[in-house]
């Protein structure tokens, strides 16, 4: 009985999330193509580029004018055909949707992967490790440091450290790339102790160990920029969150009973706050997908953020949609798993309950 109820819930939830993904992805296709207006932009760009290339080439200009025009027309037609602009956008949009939902992701229209592949999958996967390395390192440091620092501060409310964190929290008003510029100026331009950017020394070391050490050295400044930009506000948020729970009656009772502070934290503060912590952690993980456009540009970091920026700039719909659909699936899957996880970690939550039941 319980199994059937859970199965029914899982199927229903899965279908509703899938429909949400379909709608979200198709909306993304429409937005990325400005409802089809991008076709006009691309046609005009092709026309402009072909014309400029030919006009700029003295050898081409040595040909009779009629021939140049005929040649231009042919080149324009070929390029429009290559990009599928000879078919109406609506028909192409369903092709984009199919490629996205089946995760075949299709072929890029303009971009190629760094190694030269047109496959959107290859384009995205090539940039993924760099993004995971940078943002994974920074976000995990921020997440766990913030949780544990906040937990500690929640027990030292009003202390010097607590007040210092509160005072530093507004530093997060500025984005990480802003601090990145200053860090580069100080540590690369002036002190010459850390690199200006990139992922590895130039030229890259040949041994793997030296290569890894070089990558770590190149990680220092961007990670530091992200930390400065996010850590204090993270600690402040979690601290406020824990403070609320720390002042609950049952915590006061536990304190009055003389339970050790570690036990109070584990049993009476951390446990009831676990669902939001898990949720936050899960969203932190999936937020790694996408990177950060400006930060990656400032540090010349070859991540997904810059890739997406290039794709948007060049109206490369398959790459944009590829990135969006993966995020959409990750998000849907996360939400789906969280539903189940909540039931496991929080006894108040029941899956697929009757009227009045949570979730």
């Amino acid at each position: 009985m319980i199994f059937a109820r859970v199965a029914r819930y899982i199927v229903g939830r899965g279908i509703s999330l899938f429909i949400t993904v379909v709608i979200g992805v198709y909306l993304a296709i429409l937005i990325a193509n400005m409802g089809g207006y991008v076709d006009e932009i691309r046609k005009a760009q092709i026309r402009e580029q072909v014309g400029s290339t030919m006009l700029a080439d003295p050898k081409m200009r040595a040909l009779p004018p009629g021939e140049v025009r005929r040649l231009m027309d042919q080149q324009i037609e070929l390029e429009e055909k290559r990009l599928g602009l000879d078919r109406h956008f609506i028909w192409r949009s369903f092709g984009y949707l199919k490629d996205a939902l089946t995760l075949s992701l299709g072929r890029a229209e303009r971009l190629t992967s760094d190694t030269g592949s047109r496959q959107v999958r290859a384009i995205l996967l090539e940039r993924l490790p760099a993004t995971l390395l940078l943002f994974g390192t920074a976000d995990l440091i921020i997440f766990f440091t913030a949780i544990f620092a906040a937990l500690s501060l929640s027990r030292r409310y009003g202390s010097f450290l607590d007040r210092a964190i509160v005072a530093l929290a507004p530093t997060s008003a500025a984005p990480a790339w802003f601090y990145g510029i200053f860090l580069i100026l100080i540590f690369a331009s002036v002190l010459h102790v850390l690199p200006f950017g990139g992922m590895v020394d130039v030229p890259p070391p040949e041994s793997r160990l030296a290569y890894a050490a070089s990558v770590l050295r190149h990680l220092v400044l961007p990670v530091a920029a992200i930390l400065v930009g996010s850590l204090f506000i993270g600690i402040y948020n979690w601290r406020t969150f824990f403070l609320i729970y720390a002042s609950e009656d049952y915590v006061e009772v536990a304190k009055a009973k003389g339970l050790p502070s570690g036990a109070i934290e584990r049993r009476y503060i951390l446990r009831p706050t676990l669902p939001p912590i898990i949720t936050s952690f899960a969203f932190t993980l999936i937020s790694l997908w996408g990177g950060a456009i400006i930060l990656e540009t400032v540090f010349s970091w070859p991540g997904l953020g810059r890739l997406l920026f290039q794709a948007v700039g060049q109206f490369d719909t398959p790459v944009i949609i590829g990135s969006v659909v993966i995020y959409a699936y990750l998000l849907a899957l996360t939400v789906f798993l969280l539903d189940i996880l909540y039931a496991l970690v929080d006894p108040r939550v029941k899956v697929g309950g009757e009227t009045g039941a949570s979730l």
């Binding site: 207006y37 006009e40 932009i41 046609k43 005009a44 760009q45 026309r47 402009e48 014309g51 400029s52 290339t53 006009l55 700029a56 080439d57 003295p58 050898k59 081409m60 200009r61 040595a62 040909l63 009779p64 004018p65 009629g66 021939e67 025009r69 040649l71 231009m72 027309d73 042919q74 080149q75 070929l78 290559r82 072929r107 190629t112 992967s113 760094d114 190694t115 030269g116 592949s117 047109r118 496959q119 490790p129 760099a130 580069i184 690369a188 331009s189 200006f196 950017g197 990139g198 992922m199 590895v200 130039v202 030229p203 890259p204 540009t297 400032v298 010349s300 070859p302 700039g313 109206f315």
Partner: protein, 866 residues
């Protein structure tokens, strides 16, 4: 077919060995050239450096990506990079570069900004709104309304040169027509009052009324839709011009847009729809264009482009006719051409469907201790000679770090791979060429050619400058019957002229190319010896890709191939060792050097046949495709010789070729490549692939050592087998742009003779007279009217003299006059100009007044390096 291969093909045509009797060498000129250290045919671009060895000057060049220009400047200061492959036009960054102790820079002049007008009207059919710019007189008046000096000084911060004409101020045609140009520039000097008067007169004619200082048409304000580009300083230009238009009574709708947003409007839409009136345009030229005679046709007539905007152009019948004559080169002498050009310049300004504003000067920074050859049009990124010249001036260091804003943008393959400029910077380091364009004049110099003979049909305009080319005019040119003219893809053999044209065939030009004697002694990077089979294979592939019967047919190769075939009249190998070929073609360029360099590309390849063969086999198997177009159509990977999934496919074909040495197009190739040689070549390629990790083999001064695609780092190293003298191209490191100084009396009595001295120097030393094309002077009276123009007389080393006779000074009348000196050099396209003010007075009694006049005007004297 990509642009590189197309350019290779767009050379010419072949046919029979022709009369050596027609060849006219100029031994005297050879001697003269040598005497002054200029390149000669035998020595190539000589002038060896005392320390010169062989091959590249440095051991390694490491390319890295850096898109942030400001950060790149910091990296220069920290010595992290030594060269930057992106031109800078930001005045603020320019000031930082100037202030730096460690950064020096090269300059380039290949970009321009302009205002493009929508000429439809007088009202737009769709909206019924008035378009004042339908009227040529109003467009012409914009020239007087705009102060180009303001744009150059205040907006570009000095990083630009005022431009009034369709001719680029740094290119040879501007220098050739310098006197005409100066006259027009002075005529169209800023004069807002005149502009407003003309605009007012024409607006009234159009039925508009000035109400409270605003032009109204049918009781509505006349609204000008101004599409202003936002990515660069054209935004400021747009604002400046908008303000001027508002001061002239127009209501301006400033629409700020990026390239992507503006393209569908200005070039994509029908101008009759009235979606815009003015657009802040910009154009780029990456190489010096030696013949800009076609600019009028391209920019002022509907023949220029098939786009709707061009179709709306209605030039005057005379401009239309001259533009067509100049474009199709239907003139017989240079004098005739220049007369037509002068008239076209004047008419183009009267038409002003586009108003040119400035030639933008780009700054290409480098570390002080690094020197390299940069192109006057394309800068460092457009330089063909940078790999041959890059070095540390003081020696010592052996590695150069070279940053550019992008790289590895698209797959590299030798047929239709990446054509991105930043990829090509690197590719050029690995590939050698048959000839190189002079970075300062655009004229070609030989690299793998010993000499060339160019025969042109009598009556066609063509000139020769360098002595490595011999030019001869002949009554007619018959193409030999055994010359190759086409390719039979089914039979895999060449078609001869006799087969294709049984009644015979004539051509407008015949070019004989004598390649360097030591050509076959040179090696590819993988150690294989260069052979005729390499050139032949490349030629076959160029034909085969455009043939529907071929397994490597690619429809994207067809348009350019057809174009090539429209002027190609045949090719024939005269001798294989040393190689001599002849090409027959109807395609004509004004310079014989360009004809020769272009034809040499027909039989030349910077890729060995065994490397290209792998790609051909992969494409035949429909596993990969050379072009993006075909790859997309077949849904296969776009072929890359340097990374990605293509390598596994190429590996497979290499393994197969090693098992059974394959020579594609065996029928045509068998005579030139044996199976044993094929096996040796494939083995060398395999060894190369194993040691380097890629298939990119060529013959340039550097080889591709390592690629880090995600990290965006590429390492090229000095190719040990590249045997040219290191100093071969060093003379092209510094453009010898002349410094001009004019001295003479500040006061001249009318009716009395006067003498002025023009001093032409470079680096503080007199400019060699033999390198001066001409020193011309123009005298304008106090009303700005041209009174006299002539060549100055030579008076000594670096000295020229202007003598104004009594009658000439009498014609000036009283007032402040100016003498403009224009100097053009044979070794650099950029002309130099200097203005000298002097006063003519009626008698000595007026001398005090004249003195004050001189003091007032003298500070405005201007000289420029254009």
């Amino acid at each position: 077919m990509n642009r590189r291969s197309a350019l290779k093909l767009l050379g010419g045509l072949a046919a029979a060995l022709g009369g050596a009797a027609y060849v006219v060498f100029a031994p005297g000129e050879t001697k003269e050239r040598k005497a002054r250290g200029l390149p000669s045919a035998a020595a190539g671009p000589s002038r060896q450096s005392p320390q010169a060895g062989l091959g590249a000057w440095v051991d390694e060049v490491v390319f890295r990506e850096e898109a942030d220009k400001a950060k790149a400047i910091n990296m220069f200061e920290a010595d992290e990079i030594q060269v930057y492959g992106l031109g800078i036009s930001d005045p603020e960054l320019y000031r930082r570069i100037q202030a730096s102790r460690v950064i020096r820079y090269e300059t380039s002049y290949g970009s321009s900004s302009e205002l493009a007008f929508n000429p439809v009207g007088p009202t737009f059919p769709r909206t019924g709104e008035l378009n004042p710019f339908h009227v040529p007189a109003i467009r012409e008046a914009m020239n007087w309304l705009i102060d180009r000096e303001y744009i150059v000084d205040e907006i570009y911060g000095g990083l630009a040169v005022p431009r009034y004409l369709p001719l680029t101020t740094a290119f040879p045609d501007y220098a050739r027509l310098a006197d005409v140009a100066r006259r027009l520039e002075l005529y169209y000097a800023p004069n807002p009052d005149k502009a407003k008067a003309v605009i007012g007169r024409e607006m009234v004619k159009l039925g508009a009324k000035l109400v409270n200082g605003r032009w109204h048409y049918r009781d509505k304000p006349v609204r000008i839709i101004f599409i202003i580009r936002t990515e660069d300083l054209r935004r400021e230009i747009g604002d400046y011009v908008s303000t001027l238009l508002e001061s002239a009574g127009f209501t301006v709708d400033r629409q700020y847009k990026t390239a992507a947003e503006s393209s569908p409007i200005w070039i994509g839409s029908n101008p009759a729809d009235g979606r815009w009136h003015i657009y802040t345009g910009g154009w780029v030229s990456l190489a010096i264009d030696r013949d800009q005679a076609d600019m009028f046709n391209a920019y002022y007539t509907p023949r220029g482009r098939p786009d709707p905007l061009w179709q709306a152009y209605t030039p005057s019948p005379r401009l239309d006719k001259i533009a067509e004559i100049l474009d199709s080169r239907r003139y017989t002498t240079w004098a005739e051409r220049n007369e037509l050009m002068a008239e076209a310049l004047k008419l183009s300004l009267q038409d002003s469907v586009r108003v040119w504003l400035a030639d933008v000067v780009y700054i290409w920074p480098r570390r002080r201790e690094v020197v390299l050859a940069a192109d006057l049009a394309g800068g460092i990124a457009g330089s063909a000679l940078w790999p041959y010249t890059i070095r540390y001036a003081e020696g010592g260091r052996r590695r150069v770090n070279f940053a550019s804003p992008g790289m590895l943008t698209e797959p590299w393959n030798p047929i239709a791979g990446s054509n991105w400029i930043f990829d090509n910077i690197i590719i050029r380091a690995t590939q050698d060429a048959a000839a190189f364009p002079d970075p300062f004049t655009g004229l070609f110099w030989p690299q793998r050619i010993k000499a060339a003979e160019v025969y042109v049909q009598k009556g066609l305009p063509c000139v020769r400058t360098h002595d490595w080319v011999a030019l001869k005019f002949v009554p007619s040119i018959e193409v030999p019957r055994d010359a190759w003219i086409d390719w039979d893809a089914a039979a895999e053999k060449f078609v001869t002229v006799g087969q294709a044209h049984p009644r015979g065939l004539k051509a407008r030009t015949r070019t004989v190319i004598h390649y360097a004697d030591e050509l076959w002694q040179t090696s590819w990077h993988d150690g294989s010896r260069l052979s005729f089979a390499d050139f032949l294979f490349s030629l076959i592939v160029s034909f085969d890709r455009a043939k529907p019967q071929s397994a490597i047919f690619d429809e994207s190769a067809v348009p350019l191939f057809k174009t090539f075939m429209s002027h190609f009249r045949g090719a024939r190998v005269l001798r294989q060792n040393p190689l001599a070929v002849e090409i027959y073609s109807d395609q004509l360029f004004p310079d014989a050097e360009t004809i020769a360099a272009s034809r040499a590309g027909v039989f030349y390849s910077s890729v060995p046949w065994h490397e290209l063969a792998l790609g051909v086999m992969a494409e035949k198997n429909r596993e990969l495709a050379f072009s993006a177009s075909k790859a997309d159509r077949l849904k296969v990977e776009w072929m890359s010789y340097i990374g990605g999934p293509s390598l596994a496919v190429l590996d497979r074909h290499l393994a197969a070729a090693l098992r059974e040495p394959v020579i594609p197009y065996a029928a045509a190739m068998a005579e030139h490549a044996s199976r044993r040689e094929a096996r040796e070549r494939y083995e060398k390629l395999q060894a190369w692939r194993r040691s380097r990790g890629h298939f990119w083999v060529s013959n340039g001064p550097f080889y591709l050592h390592a690629i880090y695609p995600v990290e965006k780092i590429v390492v090229v190293r000095k190719a040990p087998q590249f045997g040219d003298a290191s100093g071969k191209w060093l003379r092209f490191v510094e453009p010898r742009i002349a410094d001009v100084e004019v001295n003479g009396p500040r006061m001249v009595e009318t009716g009395a003779a006067a003498e002025f001295e023009i001093k032409v120097t470079f680096g503080g030393r007199p400019y060699p007279s033999e390198d001066i094309e001409f020193v011309r002077f123009l005298v304008f009276d106090s009303r700005g009217e041209l009174v006299d123009a002539a060549d100055a007389g030579r008076a000594g080393d670096g000295l020229w003299q202007v003598k104004l006779g009594a009658d000439q000074t009498a014609r000036l009348g009283s007032g402040a006059n100016r003498l403009e000196a224009v100097v053009t050099s044979k070794v650099v396209a950029v002309p130099s100009q200097k203005t000298f003010w002097f006063v003519t007075v009626d008698s000595g009694a007026k001398i005090q007044k004249a003195q004050r006049s001189v003091e007032r005007v003298a500070p405005d004297e201007k000289g420029s390096r254009r």
